[in-house]
Every structure is written in C-alpha cells, then in structure tokens.
C-alpha cells in the first residue's frame, strides 16, 4: 500500500436509469446506437404545453406508482418516482462494486443531487388538496417529496451512518454531489461514498423551461447551428467512490480514478451563462490544476451541451479559453441529445457515461443532424469514437444561477 493510494479517489461501481431504461448497459447500447430516447410525453397530457417531447424512463420503472397503492416498503415509507430511480441506480452501482449491506455501507456517506425531488408527487398532492382533481390528499405523500428524498432513501437502503447530504443547485447538483464525496474521501472523513443524482419529469419543470422558451420542439441538437433548445429527460446516475486504499483492501476492480473537480459561479445572471464562459473556464482550469494534469492530456470532453443557443456558445468560449488552439480538435460529446437533460442528475449521469467511455475506450456520439455552429466550432463526436489511448475524460456542467462544475476522470487499470 503506497502513501499516494490514501489520497486517491477511485470509482468502483456505476449505475444508471435513463430514457433507455434501467442499467448502464442499456444506457451504453442506447448511446452507441445514435438513436435518441426522446419520445412524445406520456406521463401527463402535454397537448397544452408549448413542446411535447421528453426522454422518459420507460415502464415498468418509469411508471409512477398509483398514489392509492400500498406503501412501497414495510416501513410505511412511500417512495417517489425520483426515489425509485435513485434506488435502482444505487443498487446497480453497489452490485458492480461488490458492496453488500454491512460494515462498509454502514460506514459510508451518501451525497446526492436533485433539482426537484418529489415535485411530481407534490403536483398530485396539491391538485387534490386544492380540489383541482378528485380524491383525498393523504399526508403520507408529503415527507418523501422533498429535495432530500432520493439521497435519504439510498442512505436507508445502505443503512449508511456517514454524512448524508443533498445538494440542490439545479443542473450542477449531480456533479457537486460527486465533488462533495471526493472532498470527504480525500480529507479522510470517509473511505467509501455513494454519489449521484436523481430527478423525475414533472409539469413544473416542463412548463417552466418552456416559459423561458428554452425547449426545442424537436429532439435537442447540442452544438448544431440550428439548435433551438433543450429536451428534458429524467433518471438517475450513481457512482461508488472510495479511496484507492479501501478498494485495494476490498479487492474490487477500479473502473476509473476521479482525479479532481472544482466548482465556480459566474455571478452574472439567474438563467443565462456568462457569454465569455469565464466561470466555466475557471472551473475547468482549477480542476486541471488540482489534478496536476495538462490541458493537452485531456482526451475528450463530456460537455453540458444542452442545445440552447446561449449554453453551447458559452461552453465553447470556456473550452477555447482553457484549451486554446487545441479546443477545435478536442473530441466533444453531449449526452443530452440522447437522453435529454436530467437536471439535478445531469452531472452524475454524465460522470457515469464518462467513466464508461474510459472503460470501453470509446466516446459515445451526440445524435442529431445539422452542421456544427461556426460560432461554437467544437469537434463534435457524431459516430462512436474508438481509441485505445483514451485515458482522461472531462465532464462539465453549467446551471441556473451561474453555477459551474467540472470533474476529471482517468481510466482505471485494464
């Protein structure tokens, strides 16, 4: 055991729930197929909404429970759809990391991101409470509808006694939860942590983004010249993170190393990123600096890439600022053209996909037709990009309120 292993943070399990279904294999197959999981909305009647597409998690997992049904567990705990996504992804990640409920999980911490928690169920509750829809408004719906519902549900599943913390910073929540876990592991507070994010599609977010005219009528086309907005998705992404020493002691394979991360704020506008991408550039630069990795060593970027004109342009400015002349040659992909924008889970699902890319030696494509925007001339990955030399991947997220986050991963041993 070397001293350096004590400081290193590694990924030993990943789990996901997306529009492609439950499981990271389903996600990976879907991403490589180039066929988006974006379809007409089935959860609610979208006909009166400005746009009608989203990447919903398919049934059975994506079907909200009938609120009149029996509680979801024997402890009178009623899980929201968002909780169920989180639990499914956490179980998959734990299985891959060979974690069973026991001393290791009891000593673990859980760090989770969610932008709306159980807002879907809150909408049902409110409709009944106010008489806008029929039926009783049972109080048992309420406690699990908070932001901290998914993270707490995962912690109860693991019987975790370490810190449990939910971060709700809109679209950077998932990345910030990974960063929070990284700090806890690096400081010696923990040996093992689950970090992730979960969000479910609801009317509030769909109508809200439409009110900003930020949703495309067609599936989103990140970085394309004619892009016209994002498409919402839903689901969860979870990573098992541990110190290298702890993973070695448990004898589990390392999927990737989390080299560093950083977070900044534009302090510019509530909904628009700083046009010069300065805040995002600082997050990337700080991450590279903390990891002691040169910009030239980054092999690909998993961009926030929402498909909104402002986001993609600002993100290009950030990349150009950090990577200089190399920015236009750096492979860039966005998962959002495939599974939509998972909001509070975006950072974690993109971290999961980045780890999988490194593991497979392949960068997944960004679906969609159209020319790349000459004002944001990234080298967009349009077909699966295979390279045995793929070693370092950067994942970026930007959010409402100007929050930016970056995470840097290195491929684990073969």
């Amino acid at each position: 055991m070397t001293d350096s292993m004590r400081d290193r943070v590694v990924v030993t399990g990943i789990g996901s729930v997306t529009g492609y279904g439950a499981g990271t294999d389903a996600l990976w197959r879907g991403l490589l197929s180039g066929r988006p999981a974006i379809r007409p909305i089935a959860r609610f009647d979208p006909s009166s909404h400005r746009t009608q597409l989203a990447a919903e998690v398919p049934p059975p997992l994506g079907k909200p429970l009938d609120p009149r049904s029996a509680p979801s567990s024997g402890r009178r705990e009623r899980w929201t759809l968002c909780d169920r996504f989180a639990l499914a992804a956490a179980k998959e990640a734990c299985a891959q990391a060979r974690l069973e409920i026991g001393p290791a999980t009891r000593a673990a911490g859980v760090f989770f991101g969610s932008s709306t928690g159980g807002m879907l169920e809150s909408e049902w509750f409110y409709a009944r409470l106010t008489g806008l829809s029929g039926g009783r408004a049972p109080l048992s719906w309420v406690p699990a509808q908070q932001y901290n519902g998914p993270g707490d549900a995962v912690a109860r599943l693991l019987q975790a006694q370490g810190p449990v913390e939910t971060l709700s910073s809109a679209c950077t929540s998932g990345a910030l939860s990974v960063l929070e876990a990284y700090d806890a592991l690096r400081s010696g507070e923990l040996d093992l942590a689950l970090a992730g994010g979960s969000d479910s599609l609801c009317q509030l977010t769909h109508a809200g983004f439409n009110s900003l005219r930020a949703v495309d009528h067609d599936p989103s086309r990140p970085f394309r010249e004619d892009r016209a907005g994002l498409t919402l998705g839903e689901g969860a992404g979870v990573l098992v993170l541990e110190t290298a020493q702890h993973a070695a002691r448990r004898g589990v394979p390392v999927l990737a190393e989390l080299l560093a991360g950083a977070s900044t704020c534009d302090a510019h506008h509530m909904t628009a990123p700083a046009p010069d991408g300065g805040g995002a550039a600082r997050a990337i630069s700080q991450t590279l600096s903390e990891a002691a990795v040169e910009a030239g060593e980054v092999d690909f970027v998993s961009a926030h890439g929402t498909g909104t004109p402002l986001n993609d342009a600002a993100e290009w400015q950030a990349l150009a600022s950090v990577f200089g002349e190399r920015a236009g040659d750096l492979p860039v992909t966005s998962i959002k053209g495939s599974i939509g924008h998972l909001l509070g889970a975006a950072g974690s699902i993109e971290a999961v996909a980045t780890v999988r890319c490194l593991r497979e030696g392949k960068v997944h494509p960004t679906p969609g037709e159209g020319l790349v925007d000459p004002e944001a001339p990234v080298r967009l990955v349009r077909q699966p990009l295979e390279s045995r030399d793929l070693a370092v991947g950067l994942s970026i997220n930007l959010a409402f309120g100007g929050s930016n986050a970056a995470l840097l991963f290195r491929k684990g041993p073969a």
Partner: protein, 387 residues
C-alpha cells in the same frame, strides 16, 4: 489560489441575520435576552389549515430590508432570496469586506434551505394546474430553484467561488457552514458566505400542522415551543436568513478583522432508523460518529462547556437529542444547554445565528457544541469557540 495549511483554523468574522425579531445582531441579541419569540399570524385566507390548527409563525416578512436591498431589486427576487441578499450584505459589512475583495477572493456561497422558495413553487404549480402550462411565469420558475437565493447573493455581491444549496431539512444550515469552511480550508476560496435561508408560506405551515409537528395553540392564543419539556407539543415554524463570513484565522489577522468565533470542527452523520417524516432511534451510532469527529479535532466531550441545542419542541427529535447529549457526556453531567429555537423558531439559520451570538457574547461560553438533528435522519454538529 494556493492550498491553505491544514492547521489554519476557520473563523467567523461577520454575521448577518434577518429573523422575525428583526435584522442584525442587535435585534437577535435583544430577542435572546428577552427569551420570547416574535410571532405573527399566518395569512388566514388560503383554507389549507384545519380548524383549531396552529396559526402563528416567526415570520420575517415585516422586517425592513431597504438598508441592504432596494425595493426595485427586491421585486426581482423571491422572499428567501431577499432575506439572503440582505443578510449577505450585512455579513460582509460586519466583516469589513469590500465588494472588490469579495470578487477577488473567489468567494464561495453555500446556503442551506429546508423548503426552498416554497411560495414561488406553489404559485407555479397553481398557475399550471388552474390556468394551463402556458401561464407559467418565467420569473417564478427561475426563482423556484433551491439555489436561487445563493445565486442571487453571488450576483449581488460578485461572489465567484462555488455556489451551492444544501437541502437537508433542519441540518441544512450547519451542513452549509461545514461545506463553506471546507472551500476556505482547501484554499479554493479566501472567503465563504455560509448559512441558510427559508420561508414559511401558508401551505408549508398547514402541512406541518396537519402532521402534528407544530406547537399546539395554547388557551391564550399563543403557540409556545417548549424544547425538552415533558409536555412539549411541537415547534414554532420560522423563516429568515442568517449568513456567516468564514475565512482562515491567518486571513483575518492579516487584514485586522475582528474574529467573532472560531469554528473548531464540523461533524456529520446519518441515522438510517429514521423514517422520512420523523427522527429515529439510532442515538448510540450518532454518538459514536460525533465522538470520532471530536477526536479528529483533538477534542473530548469534557472540553465542551456549553451546548446550543437544536431542540425545537419536536416530540421525537428532542428525545433523540437528549439521548445523544446524555450518552456523549456520560458519566459527567451535560453542560449548560441553551435552546434558541424556543425564541427564533424552527429555522436552522436562526439557531446558527443564535449560536454564534451566544459564543461571541461577553461572558459567553468558552467552547460550545451546536447541534442540528433533521427529521429523516441527517445530523450535523459544529464546535464553536471563543477565538
């Protein structure tokens, strides 16, 4: 920015607060001395409350914020954002920091919230359900995200470091302080603005009442939270904002800033026996975590001479708190306990501000344990000491 040395302690050099008792430290100090909460009736027109339900809360919407926030700027913010921007400005004034310093210091903003911007989220849902999705207000939507207040603080003050909203019920404020301190300790930010902001709207108040979480109406019409009392019946819901300026002791010394308190350590834990709506029974494991956290800071329970308890009058929550304190200090007596939530109400930011005020006061305790146990299982503690 270079990494701070591991031994560089974190101190509080500014405190801003907007609470039902008023704005600023003097209003808070006077309220703590009076020992009485300042309460107002919840808007009666909504019809969410059951007959005979608690109707009072420690609201802060009557507090004049214009010294820190223009009416024009306030119109573009939710109530929690207004509270937070005012408290943030108050805090940096108290810390004698200029906007230029805040901008140059990559200042982090970490704010906890239990319920987020509840009024705007409700308005948005109401508009969508009653009038259709096209009636959704973009202003309500952008301010309905939980990080809207921390973002508004960053925009107002030019804070360009990490910007984070912590949403872990009653533990949010202390967890936010722990996170802000870490940003400073790791050298990512020279300053962190950390604390909490919350609002109580009629819907949240009514739902808490329906759960039996609120203090029962007394015959004289006042609802009084009675932390640790055998006949306690619940807590007094409260709102407002409290924000601390955190920096390293070296940084404070360098610029000659007054140090209010030193943050000796922060400890975090979770009780998985807790159901989502209540407190659990895992006091032994929580005490174990707390002890180990204190040990990591080279502290023993007998080094603590005061407890600023998060007990609020909640039936199960106060019992768990009592069990933890008894076990932590056994076989000795638990030191003096203060319970500021009987005065500032159940708002983590108010309790945090009261804890800082208690330790910073002349003749205050040497070293205090500050606790926050959240319904659902999260737990956080700070140890604050006189610098």
């Amino acid at each position: 920015m270079s990494r701070a040395s591991a031994s560089d302690a974190i101190v509080v050099t500014g405190l801003g607060s907007v609470l039902s008792a008023g704005a600023g430290r003097q209003a808070l100090s006077e309220a703590l001395q009076r020992g009485e909460p300042t309460v107002q009736p919840i808007e009666p027109v909504t019809g969410f409350h059951l007959p005979g339900a608690s109707r009072l809360a420690a609201l802060a919407n009557h507090v004049d914020l214009t010294p820190w926030l223009s009416r024009r700027a306030a119109r573009r913010m939710s109530q929690p954002s207004r509270y937070a921007v005012a408290a943030g400005r108050m805090a940096i004034e108290a810390a004698t920091l200029t906007p230029e310093e805040i901008a140059q210091g990559d200042t982090a903003v970490v704010l906890g919230t239990a319920f987020g911007t509840a009024r705007f989220a409700e308005a948005l849902i109401d508009d969508i359900l009653r009038r259709g999705p096209e009636s959704a207000s973009p202003f309500h939507f952008s301010e309905s995200v939980a990080n809207a207040p921390s973002a508004q603080v960053a925009i107002a003050l030019g804070a360009r470091g990490a910007n984070v909203a912590v949403t872990q019920r009653e533990a949010s404020a202390l967890l936010a302080v722990a996170a802000g301190a870490r940003e400073v300790r790791l050298g990512r930010s020279r300053w962190a603005l950390a604390g909490a902001t919350d609002e109580i709207n009629p819907l949240v108040h009514a739902v808490l009442g329906r759960f039996g979480a609120l203090a029962d109406p007394a015959p004289n019409g006042r609802e009084t939270a009675r932390p640790f009392a055998p006949d306690r019946s619940g807590f007094l819901a409260a709102e407002g904002s409290a924000i601390l300026v955190l920096e390293t002791e070296n940084s404070a010394l360098e610029r000659g800033a007054e140090k209010l308190v030193r943050l000796r350590c922060a400890v975090r834990a979770f009780d998985p026996t807790a159901p989502p709506h209540d407190w659990g029974f895992g006091h032994a494991e929580l005490v174990g975590r707390l002890r180990r956290g204190l040990e990591r800071a080279n502290l023993q329970p007998f080094d603590i001479d005061h407890v600023v308890s998060g007990a609020s009058g909640a039936r199960r929550g106060d019992q768990l708190e009592r069990e933890i304190l008894d076990a932590l200090f056994a076989p000795r007596q638990v030191p003096d306990i203060s319970t500021p939530k009987s005065i500032v109400g159940e708002f983590g930011g108010g309790a945090l501000a009261a804890a800082v005020e208690t330790v910073a006061a002349t003749g205050g305790p040497r070293r205090a344990l500050v606790s926050a146990l959240a319904a659902g299982g999260a737990a956080a503690w700070l140890v604050l000491e006189r610098p």
